[in-house]
């Protein structure tokens, strides 16, 4: 007897199938993420120890009697450095982790030998990147929450600004940060050398975006470069929203710039991904590493 069975699978393309593929990637990434419990240690420790290196160096530069601190206050117009460094380094950590996790997601699959077989499945391929972003974003929001608590209780940082405005800046920052991650993932899968690219991009953010000092400390040409980087506006925006009492007017320019950069970086990310996809089909080099 021949049985008739309705087969509903990913092989029937459509929006629903794409959504299923996206959800499958989200689930897989989340499972991998929670499989290695060391992320809990990372979540608790990194927000403290990463800024701590800079904060303690600043403390040493201040001197035993505060002679260096007085110079710092005169030069920068800032009263204190702890909160300033804490926010700057937190944003840098966010971008850094996105570069490693999202930027390296396709490359990791390539190294594990699963990229080719995934690529052959009849799914929306951009969902591999998009799906990887969701658990990553959740873990990043957890990191920011833990970091804020640690800054308040361990570093005694006074967040006198608004929580909602800080979240608004972060919301506006997401397209730029993840768009860069998508572009990066496509570039890395072609060029292979993910470490070098992560070092380069995060290095640019570290030097030009003022994670530990005001941009005004940089030479003129470096200040010009920093104006073309969205991370400069993210750091400035979150600092203003969280630490100062300037309110919405203090971050309006940052939000505008982040909206523009967000569109640009998402478009670049998507275009580069499509280009890489076509190139992979032509060269057949997707499984090579």
């Amino acid at each position: 007897m021949r049985s008739e069975m309705s087969v509903r699978s990913l092989a029937v393309p459509g929006f629903f199938a794409d959504l299923q593929a996206f959800w499958a990637v989200v689930r897989r990434e989340w499972t991998i993420f929670v499989r290695y419990p060391s992320w809990i240690i990372a979540l608790l420790i990194w927000p403290v120890i990463f800024p701590m290196g800079y904060i303690l160096t600043a403390r040493a530069l201040s001197g035993t009697n505060g002679i260096g601190l007085a110079t710092f206050q005169r030069t920068t117009g800032l009263d204190e450095y702890v909160g300033y460094i804490a926010v700057g380094t937190m944003i840098w950590m966010w971008q850094n982790i996105v570069l490693w996790n999202i930027g390296g997601s396709l490359r990791n699959e390539q190294l594990r030998g699963t990229l080719e077989s995934n690529w052959l499945s009849p799914t929306w391929r951009f969902s591999y990147l998009l799906g990887a972003s969701v658990p990553q974003l959740i873990s990043m929001l957890m990191l920011m929450f833990v970091a804020t608590l640690e800054y308040i209780f361990l570093f005694n940082v006074q967040f006198e600004g608004s929580l909602w405005l800080s979240l608004l800046v972060i919301l506006f920052a997401i397209p730029s940060v993840y768009g860069l991650g998508f572009a990066f993932a496509s570039l890395v899968i072609t060029m292979k050398e993910s470490n070098a690219f992560v070092f380069l991009v995060r290095g640019i953010v570290m030097v030009f975006c003022g994670i530990t000092y005001p941009i005004a400390m940089l030479p003129d040409w470096m200040q010009t470069v920093s104006k073309w980087l969205p991370q400069t506006y993210i750091i400035h925006g979150v600092r203003t929203a969280a630490i100062s009492t300037e309110g919405l007017s203090g971050i309006t320019l940052d939000l505008q710039m982040l909206a523009i950069f967000g569109v640009i970086w998402l478009a670049i990310g998507y275009l580069l991904f499509n280009r890489m996809e076509r190139r992979a089909c032509k060269t057949g080099a997707i499984g090579q590493y």
Binding site: Y36, S38, W39, I41, A42, I45, W46, I49, F50, M52, G53, Y54, L56, T57, A58, R59, A60, L61, S62, G63, T64, N65, G66, I67, G68, L69, T71, F72, T75, T76, L111, R112, M191, K192, E193, N195, A196, F197, F199, L200, G203, M206, V207, I211, T212, Y213, P214, M217, L218
Partner: protein
């Protein structure tokens, strides 16, 4: 015909195995030239924010506040030296623990472990290439550091090697124990990153440890690396030492023997545990 293979272990066969390991890592490293080039600039990028931050605390490039803790106003030479030494420390951290993780991920760990080579030799082999590369990149880093940040050595370079030797040998002991822990928990990134960063902070690679808050200072003082960095800096740029130099040397030599003994013991015990659990090939 007499066949001499690795299955008849001799000193020569061990040396051949060591050579093969070093060659393999060397080839793999230079296979990705951009990664290689970035390892010179990466540490410079890390200290660039400190440079610009330091300028905000300085008058005409001299950090008078910093000199109250360290005995030198040249904060960049202090930090650059710490960064170079830290690269060597990390080479041992990464070279052994992280290489084992790479072997696990690539699926060659079990087959390597089945070869008739002392397992500690495999670990040492993994670290040698890293140390040679660190030496090359450090030279590049110091040259660029001199050009960009005005790095300057006023002391005796040869004398500075005296504390380097016991410090590095002692680190091998630590690296053995650490590699065994990586084998056991099968996750290296977080462990390597966090521990090397903490050691970097508490051994004073970027600032004099006496600038630490009082409650953190004991952590720095129990780390032998603190005395290693301190002794080397005093020889090269004339900083004031925490303890008299002779005492720092004695501590480093004691550290060398103790850490080697603890490291080998810990590695043998944990490696046996991994074999009992049968998780050697898992990752």
């Amino acid at each position: 015909m007499e066949i001499q293979t690795l299955s008849q272990p001799t000193l020569a066969s061990h040396m051949r195995a060591l050579y093969s390991l070093i060659r393999k890592d060397w080839k793999q490293y230079w296979r990705y030239p951009l990664n290689a080039a970035s390892s010179i600039f990466q540490p410079l990028i890390w200290i660039a924010p400190i440079y610009f931050m330091g300028l905000a605390f300085s008058v005409n490039g001299k950090a008078y506040g910093f000199s109250q803790y360290s005995g030198t106003t040249d904060f960049m030479s202090f930090i650059l030296l710490g960064t170079v030494l830290e690269s060597f420390i990390n080479a041992v951290f990464w070279g052994m623990g992280y290489a084992l993780k790479n072997d696990m991920d690539s699926g060659v760990m079990e087959s390597n472990w089945l070869t008739p080579i002392p397992r500690l030799l495999i670990l040492v082999g993994h670290s040698v290439t890293n140390l040679v590369i660190t030496l090359i990149t450090s030279m590049g880093m110091l040259i660029f550091g001199a050009l960009l940040f005005g790095f300057n050595v006023s002391g005796d370079v040869m004398k500075a090697f005296i504390p380097v030797i016991p410090m590095m040998i002692g680190l091998y002991g630590f690296g053995f124990a650490f590699a065994a822990v990586v084998m056991l928990i099968r996750e290296a990134n977080t462990l390597v990153d966090v521990s090397s960063f903490l050691v970097q902070i508490f051994s004073g690679s970027n600032f004099p440890v006496n600038a630490l808050p009082r409650f953190l200072l004991p952590i720095a003082l129990v780390l032998p690396l603190t005395y290693g960095l301190d002794a080397i800096r005093s020889q090269l740029i004339g900083t004031t030492t925490i303890l008299p130099l002779v005492w720092e040397m004695v501590l480093l030599i004691v550290f060398m023997f103790v850490m080697l003994w603890i490291g080998i013991k810990a590695f043998r015990s944990l490696e046996r545990r991994v074999r009992v659990l049968g998780t050697l090939g898992q990752h």
